[in-house]
């Protein structure tokens, strides 16, 4: 239909976004509509307030951190390409992606490594490449109900770091993180079916 294809031209930089994220034209269109729907005052970008308006995120224990992940490097606005880039991590891994890839091209955003990297950054707030015991404790506090005492939480945090920590530095590096999750089906856990 004529009107549908001309709408794709409205998306800024649609070709470079497609190459970077791997989304199909139809998915990008839907995401753009969602972006526009979230951007109620039609500024052309999303602020934290816009994302905080999503009611369901308010009752998600990790809501704040999820919103923060859309604003890397302390910026206060996210445009459509930034928005889509974050969502690209959750694209399901198709069979064709795991085929022979040109090794010179950068890894696709929805590869297993990149998914793990995205999850890692939810823990590692200070971006030093390691999850300290303190950071683990903070995440635990967010995710656990109020009946658990502070001592129990601290011992759980200790144990978590201890299990994964191999070089004994008291923190979990990214490699140790991936190693502790090597048996898990990350591809399925961090993929959203509708984001084909």
């Amino acid at each position: 239909m004529g009107s549908r294809s001309s709408r794709a031209a409205v998306i800024p930089d649609v070709d470079s976004i497609r190459r970077e994220t791997g989304f199909s034209q139809a998915s990008l269109l839907r995401l753009y509509q969602r972006f526009r729907a979230l951007d109620r005052s039609e500024k052309g970008y999303l602020s934290r307030m816009d994302l905080q308006q999503i009611g369901a995120l308010a009752v998600n224990p990790l809501g704040d951190r999820i919103i923060d992940s859309f604003f890397p490097d302390g910026s206060q606005r996210v445009d459509f390409s930034g928005f889509v880039r974050v969502l690209a991590y959750f694209r399901p891994i198709e069979d064709e992606d795991t085929g022979i890839r040109d090794s010179k091209q950068p890894e696709p955003l929805n590869s297993r490594m990149n998914k793990l990297r995205f999850a890692f950054q939810l823990y590692d707030l200070d971006r030093d490449g390691k999850i300290s015991r303190q950071e683990m404790l903070q995440v635990l506090r967010l995710m656990v109900g109020v009946q658990v005492t502070e001592e129990q939480l601290e011992s759980i945090a200790d144990r978590t770091v201890q299990e994964a920590d191999e070089d004994g530095d008291g923190a979990v590096s990214f490699l140790e993180f991936t190693k502790s999750l090597e048996k898990m089906n990350i591809e399925q856990k961090m993929s959203i079916r509708i984001l084909k």
Binding site: A56, T160, K183, M190
Partner: protein, 587 residues
């Protein structure tokens, strides 16, 4: 010369309500027992339990040779027992996904019922032609009628069994939608065929009559829905004005729904579809208008009424099972069972093959197998069989027996095995216990995924939905919704937070331990404590039991119970915590 007696016994006076109350109480006690052992609800559907209670009561009545209270007759069933069940189904239907999948649901429920009914009916007619079985006197119409009543499935009864295996939303909707519409369609078909049967001679039926029958089918269905929608809007409109007298709000909701049913039945339109449409229409507006307490009352009362109805029907079923009113015909019963399965399989795979061509997210073969296997017959089929007029159906007992056998078979065998089947088809979980690391990270990723899904929102055919939403906002909401309601959903959520809970949380010191506060102790010494396996186990238990649940995106529906309050408490805790971090971050 009569003296005044000090004690008298008059059982006949209270017999009917007394026994009915006893039955309901017995079923409730059984349900309590059923849920006490928390693994049972996942092993078998609750309807199994109700059937067993029914059989028990039937056995008692039969054993004591008691004259049971008036058994179910046509008017009691259609006027009193059926409406609450259908109302509950319609009210708890999640509207947005329902309308997004409306095409598939109508296609499957409508056409599926028809294909099943006529398929089973015709196949059984062919079987009846075989002289050896002694079924020669069952003519085509009777077979078709039997086919229509035996194709009334009740798959919602098994939804609770595989709820914990995260069934995807589409599959859930299809099964629920089928349960909802199937009753209506079966009853319409049943009534039309009864009307046909009443025409004296089979040979009198001409092509004109058949065409009239089809036209009537469509009119009855569509007319019923229209009635329901009109009544739904009227009741939504009235709830706009009930601020000051909120105690009657539940009454309005129930009375209007019931009225839509009765009004439709007066004109021989489908009351079931009317009451369903009424519930679906008014739900959205009524929920916004009525007070929180009325909303809770409506939900609970609806569950209670439908639960009572269904219990009574199952008890009647039990009473009929244990008794002398049976006619066992091996051929008819076995072939009925076989044809039920075959035709369901044919209709599932054929109809979904077609509808998959038009869907963005087609149903996989796995999904279709689950749909096929969830074809459990329930109280609806039994009621229709029981109410067959004996004058027109001399072999009614055989039909009733066959229906009972199918119900028992599907409910028990399919109901119990569908859980393992779904779990087998679904994610094959490793049985090894996960380490604490994995537990934590898995839950984090689940929350993350749920959060990102919420950011993505729901995708659908935007055009139609947007148009309806615009129309809704511009006209409907202005008329039907009260003024002065807060627009933002977060504000209304806060309104529901109770003071008491907030006070409790402050007092237990939770609010101080936000993500930003610096702990008193500095870096702990790196003493690696040797933890015994039991310590690790108990740690893992603490973690598993206390981590917040991931928000269920798939609507969770349990036919016999309402969702417990834990998810609301969890939401309140999270909100209160985040309120604090909001404020902190703005300083």
């Amino acid at each position: 010369d009569e003296r005044i007696s000090v004690f008298e016994l008059d059982y006949d006076y209270v017999q009917i309500p007394y026994e009915v109350t006893l039955w309901i109480l017995l079923a409730s006690l059984a349900k309590i027992g059923f849920h006490l052992y928390h693994r049972l609800p996942h092993l078998m559907p609750e309807s199994c339990l109700l059937i067993l209670v029914g059989v028990l009561v039937g056995a008692i009545i039969f054993g004591t040779d008691h004259k049971s209270p008036p058994v179910m007759d046509s008017s009691i069933y259609f006027l009193y027992l059926l409406p609450p069940i259908v109302l509950e189904g319609g009210y708890f239907m999640p509207t947005r996904p329902f309308f997004e999948n409306l095409g598939s649901i109508l296609w499957w429920a409508g056409l599926g019922s028809l294909v099943n009914a006529f398929g089973i009916g015709l196949s059984l007619y062919l079987v009846c032609q075989v002289q050896a079985f002694g079924l020669g006197d069952v003519n085509l119409l009777q077979n078709l009628l039997f086919g229509s009543l035996i194709s009334a499935v009740d798959p919602a009864a098994v939804l609770a069994v595989f709820e914990e295996a995260r069934v995807n939303e589409q599959l859930y909707l299809i099964i629920f939608g089928e349960a909802l519409l199937n009753d209506g369609i079966s009853v319409v078909l049943y009534n039309i065929l009864i009307a046909f049967t009443k025409m004296h001679k089979f040979e009198d039926i001409e092509a004109v009559d058949i065409l009239a029958g089809c036209a009537r089918f469509v009119i009855v269905g569509v007319g019923g829905v229209l009635f329901g929608v009109v009544f739904g809007f009227i009741s939504a409109f009235i709830t706009r004005f009930t601020q000051n007298i909120s105690a009657i709000e539940p009454l309005i909701v129930f009375m209007f729904s019931y009225l839509s049913y009765l009004a439709a039945e007066t004109l021989y339109l489908s009351g079931i579809l009317a009451i369903t449409a009424c519930a679906v229409t008014m739900k959205k507006y009524v929920e916004e208008n009525v007070s929180q307490k009325s909303y809770t009352t409506i939900k609970y009362f609806m569950k209670m009424l439908s639960s009572v109805s269904e219990t009574l029907i199952f008890i009647f079923m039990g009473v009929s099972t244990v008794g002398k009113n049976h006619e066992w015909n091996w051929a008819f019963i076995c072939f009925t069972l076989v044809f039920c399965q075959i035709w369901r399989a044919i209709s599932v795979f054929a109809l979904f093959y077609v509808s998959n061509q038009f869907r963005t997210f087609p149903f996989s073969i796995k999904d279709q197998c689950i749909i096929f296997y969830s074809g459990v017959r329930g109280a609806g089929s039994f009621s229709l069989a029981f109410l067959l007029p004996l004058s027109l159906f001399p072999r009614k007992k055989m039909f009733v027996t066959a229906t009972l056998v199918v119900i028992y078979f599907t409910t028990f065998i399919q109901g119990i095995t569908i859980g393992p089947l779904v779990r087998y088809l679904d994610v094959k979980k490793t049985n090894k216990k996960e380490s604490i690391n994995e537990e934590l990270h898995i839950r984090l990723m689940d929350h993350l995924k749920a959060g990102i899904e919420d950011v993505c929102g729901h995708w659908s055919h935007y055009q139609v939905r947007d148009k309806f939403k615009k129309f809704d906002h511009r006209y409907l909401r202005k008329i039907l919704i009260r003024k002065n309601l807060p627009k933002s959903s977060i504000v209304s959520l806060y309104k529901k937070l109770e003071m008491k809970q907030a006070i409790e949380m402050v007092e237990t010191g939770i609010l101080s331990s936000t993500a930003f506060s610096v702990p008193q102790q500095a870096q702990r010494i790196q003493g690696i404590k040797r933890l015994s396996p039991e310590d690790v186990e108990s740690m893992r238990d603490i973690l598993t039991r206390n981590m917040y649940q991931v928000r269920q995106r798939t609507p969770s529906y349990n036919k016999y119970n309402l969702k417990p309050q834990t998810s609301e408490k969890q939401a309140k805790e999270i909100l209160i915590r985040r309120q604090n971090t909001f404020r902190e971050s703005r300083k």
